[in-house]
Amino acid sequence: METPGTDDRSLHQRVVGGDESALGEVHTRHYPLVLSLALRVTRDRVVAEDIVQEVFVTFWERPLAFDPDRGTLRSWLATIAHRRAVDHVRSEQRHRVSVLGPRLTDPEPSPSPLEDWVLAADEAARVRRAVARLPGGLREPIELAYYRGRTYRQTAEDLGLPEGTVKSRIRMGLRRLADELAEEEV
């Protein structure tokens, strides 16, 4: 018996065929991104977890709504997560309007891009400060990859390092940033 495929296309093929273990693998692989997006929009971990479950159940129930020839599974799941999260926030807004009356609530958010309203200015500043505090070996690859949009390969060429080293330094840098920002919140 061949080992079942574990790339996204194979996982989709298995989910279409009703193999629930493939859904578990999709969840393990894409949970962090889906949760991050839901959390950014809702700013509520409990609500975000509910949205995450909804997104993966949607993929299970209607797997043919995703077409691997038209985009990646990652971006499709992200789109669904974002849409569900925005719907949740707007529904909360409408609820507050109906309970408190329109003049006592925030204005309805406009459908601007996600970063315009989920990444508050102070948070952006916190991230920038945390990046600036990283040691050079971790800071430089992050600045090149994120601020200047360089690929892993280009970043490796810019720094004269092997690509694998660059990837692991970016990973270490992200982990360090996560720890620092978590400490700030305590």
Binding site: M1, E2, P4, H12, Q13, V16, G17, G18, D19, E20, S21, L23, G24, H27, Y31, P32, L33, L35, S36, L37, L39, R40, E49, Q53, F56, V57, E61, R62, P63, L64, A65, D67, D69, R70, G71, T72, R74, S75, W76, A78, T79, I80, H82, P113, L114, E115, V118, L119, E123, V127, R128, Y146, Y147, G149, L174, R175, L177, A178, L181, A182
Partner: protein, 313 residues
Amino acid sequence: MERHYGHGDEIPGTTDPLTRLSLDVLAETAAPPPGAVDRLLSAARSARRPVAAAGFTAPFAGRVAAMDALLASATRADWSQKIVEGWTLQELVAHLAATDSLVACAIDAPVAGPPLTANDVLGRTADMIAYTGGRTPQETRAEWRAQAEAIRARAAEMDPGTPITPGGMSFALSDHLLARMLETWLHTVDAAAVLGVSLPLPVAAHIHPTADFCARLIPWTMLLSGVDGGGARAVRLTLTGPGGGVWHVPLDVQVVARPDDGAPAEVEIACDVVDFCFLLGGRRAPDEFPATITGDAGLARDVLHCAPVLSGP
């Protein structure tokens, strides 16, 4: 067909580098809470039934799941679309339920639809389509799905070699389930083509036994076509792609095709495994069939032309 797409490969809200960085930082600490996968699978099972991933019933169950996934996304308008044989999507599901019901009856599983009076596919299909005329598409879908699951569950308790004769065709139970797998697959592809859905192939582990079944049918298709396969002659069949393999196919219904062992063959036919299954299913034209022939070209032409003889509506 209901679809919801993003824009190409863009993650929403990641055009700004700081947003992208923040998301990636957050993802570093985003571990699922304990029990998250179990809770997800429990909720998923309520939305769509999973299938057993192994055993001789798995290829059939997998195609039933794929058809059900297609039906899950069908809009009200889709259900009235003509798919094949002049049938709407709802009537096509009724046809699948009708043909399945002959197998259900043969193994004492609960039979969907009206009492079974016809033991032939066309007669039973007509009865089932008349029966579903007064029912909603979702009721038709639910009855077809429940019966298919009952067939799978009952068959799993039985010896796969048990001979059964639904619709007058006597084969082992396991082969009848492969025949049901192939027909369900073909009709799902028919529906996907009309509705504009991209349908992934079955997994290789499900294609292989179906291809093996099709290879073993070759001497029968020649016999039923009235073409003399020539007793002692044989074909080497090389089926490429996931789930493929190489078979030695004696053109004698008394001798079963087997994995190739290098025994002599008058002709070698090499083609794609899915194309070969679809040729047997009547979805490929023998005259234009893409195959590499080595040896007796006349015999190869006979094999390919006879192959679809068992395909029905």
